[in-house]
């Protein structure tokens, strides 16, 4: 064996030499603390060219892999919105030319494709993403290249970026209304069930803080990996804990397993109802009759009676690739494209800085299917109505509660005294 160790030694030496050579070859770029470099992070000038008769936009959704289950619909609705806008004359008279990219349910791929869209395809803005992980992968890249990203799904809040617009709900537009609803229902004992990733964990951290303030006792908290469907063991714990209500932050197909295990164990909507923040019109049909009678907190429901909703539903149903029902994330994606149109028209330009300035200066609004939403130019979120729906036998939602007015977005929960100021400060600091 001595030959082997000798070889290995010479290999190590070769490795060391090789690395050194590579380092020397490389020369040096900017180092930390170097002022020029710190200022130079704005990188290369944007290559976006809008001088022609078209504007290029990027759509970034997972069309393959596990999240394709949800994201395909968002991609289709973005295409529909683009077709609609083009039929109406485009944005600033320019037709939308979209580049569809596949995020492949892989977060580094989201980062790679974002960079490709911004530097190779030179798109003026990117629309898409679903999971918080995909958004967090995209964020550094759009910030580096000073691009724009429109994110259409409700999320855990506690984030803001000059390069991202959030058209889904932040916590105070979905979680907090749900908690207010539970309080009004007289709930005393709440059980938290979620998938094991950042949104449920963060949402539940916030729920626990608010529950303490509301005097609701949290009688248990369970997480199951996103890719596991079997909830039987956890549901046994729920049965033993005897909650009055279950707060469900489970995502994806695991939700089907949860509802089935819940029903198997003899839990009923009449006695131990579930309130969910990720079951919508799209997801409910895959769960069968077991889900009837349960609640969900969203901003948009297909059953909402607003002036623009019927047209939205009708055009979606007529669209090729349609799934036949509309849901909150779809509607938020639909909003995102129109909101971009409104922003560009207010700015009179596709330039990112001009768009951001226009967002700050004007109150940009859009007559969305959920109602007339207003953009907050500071935190890049939109105002939304809070709604609680109850699932009926045709997998539509009967609205049982609505906020008395549109809820202003408050991603860092600054208007809520129960949210510890020191956590907020640390989070803002950490976000830089």
């Amino acid at each position: 064996m001595s030959t082997i160790s000798k070889r290995l030694r010479s290999l190590t030496a070769m490795g060391a030499i090789g690395t050194t050579v590579a380092l020397v070859l490389a020369g040096c770029g900017a180092r930390a603390g170097d002022e020029a470099a710190a200022g130079g992070t704005s990188a290369a000038p944007s290559c976006v060219d809008t001088s022609g008769s078209a504007v290029k936009l990027g759509f970034l959704n997972s069309l393959t892999g596990g999240m394709a289950i949800s994201e395909k619909t968002v991609s289709n609705v973005l295409h529909m919105a683009a077709d609609e806008i083009n039929a109406g004359g485009g944005i600033l008279g320019k037709k939308i030319e979209y580049v569809q990219e596949d995020g492949a349910t892989d977060w580094p791929t989201f980062a790679e494709k974002t960079e490709k869209l911004l530097t190779q395809d030179c798109v003026a803005a990117i629309f898409g993403g679903w999971t918080s992980s995909s958004r967090k992968a995209v964020k550094p890249v759009v910030e580096k290249h000073n691009g724009l990203f429109f994110y259409p799904v409700q999320y855990e809040g506690l984030e803001s970026s000059p390069n991202i617009y959030y058209t889904g709900a932040t916590t105070n537009q979905q979680i907090i209304p749900a908690m207010d609803f539970l309080k009004a229902q007289g709930v005393k004992r709440l059980f938290l069930a979620g998938s094991d990733y950042v949104f449920p964990r963060t949402a539940n951290a916030i729920i626990k803080l608010y529950a303490a303030k509301l005097g609701i006792e949290i009688v248990g908290e369970e997480y199951v990996p996103l890719d596991k469907d079997d909830w039987t063991s956890q549901v046994a714990k729920i049965v033993a804990a005897k909650p009055d209500f279950i707060f469900n932050t489970i995502n994806g197909s695991s939700n089907v397993g949860f509802v089935k295990a819940y029903y198997d164990a003899g839990l009923k909507a009449e006695t131990t109802p579930i309130i969910s923040v990720s079951i919508a019109e799209e997801e409910a049909p895959a769960m069968g009759h077991e889900v009837t009678g349960q609640y969900a907190s969203w901003n948009y429901f297909q059953s909402l009676k607003t002036p623009t909703n019927p047209k939205f539903i009708e055009s979606w149903k007529a669209y090729p690739n349609s799934s036949g029902v509309t849901s909150d994330p779809m509607e938020a994606a639909y909003i995102s494209l129109y909101l971009y149109k409104a922003l560009v028209e207010a700015a009179g330009s596709f330039d990112v800085d001009a768009v951001n300035a226009a967002a700050k200066k004007n109150a940009i609004t859009f007559d969305a299917p959920e109602g007339k939403v207003t953009l907050d130019g500071e935190n890049h979120h939109i105002s939304k109505p809070g709604h609680i729906g109850k699932i009926n036998s045709s997998n539509q939602f009967d609205i049982v509660w609505a906020s008395d007015k549109f809820i202003e977005p408050d991603p860092y929960l600054e208007g809520y005294d129960w949210f510890p100021a020191d956590i907020r400060k640390q989070l803002v600091d950490a976000a830089g």
Binding site: T64, D230, S233, A240, G257, D264, P285, A286, M287
Partner: protein, 294 residues
Amino acid sequence: MDALIAPLLNGSAQGALLLLAALGLSLTFGQMGVINMAHGEFLMIGAFAAYLVQQVITASNLSIPVALPVAFVVAGLFGLLLEVTIIQWMYRRPLDTLLVTVGVGLILQQAALQIFPSQGVPVEKPGWLDGQLNILGYEWPLRQLFTILLASVCVAALSAWLKYTSFGRRIRATVQNRDLAETSGISTRTIDRLTFFTGSGLAGVAGVAASLIGGTNSQMGAQYIIPAFLVVAAGGIGQLKGTIIAAWAVGVALSYFAYWTTGSLAQVLAFILVIVFLQLRPQGLFTVRTRSLA
């Protein structure tokens, strides 16, 4: 009492589902040496077959009993197709069957995503599975009992088939000594095809059981494949009783871990438990004594 009895019962049911998923593998892997990574996708095919049966027979009380044999045949036919087109050329390269079937699995998943609604489809539980059985104060869901019964029936049928029928005898003969079996006039080709058909068909049955527990969608098969392989390996290749015990043990361990820790940690601990066990006893619980050197 609840804390002890509930995980035991839930775990037994979890083990039964694992056993259903592993049974077909134990046949194809154990008896034929084929490592079929698309087994999870055959399970998915079974679940979709159950959904399609429910579209025809809308009364779920009846449709699930009908779906079981249908899923067996449909998944079995897919398996047969795989055997005839690809696997039969690879019997001398077992490790390569693993990689080829990974490719088959990828294709089947993507096809399912494009054929069926991307969110998945509902499979309704028959009404006679509503309700619970009170066991020592724990309200045990009937559906879990059903999974255990289904697994038991499949095991009984499989072992009877292997033991008492002439096909079974020929399969065993082929496994023990392929050349000698062939010399004695057994068509080993037919036997291989039949074994693969049955193994894949069992995955289809497991798929029906899985569709009553979780979602029926393109991704559903992926979560069963690695645990099922671990169960087969821990039980001892080609050993039905080993597979049964290993499946039950893993299911119960998972359930107790989930009760004491979190759902995610339970998965990790159960995996590590099996890995450590296999390290201590690489041949699994039971072994066939052969005269080979390896």
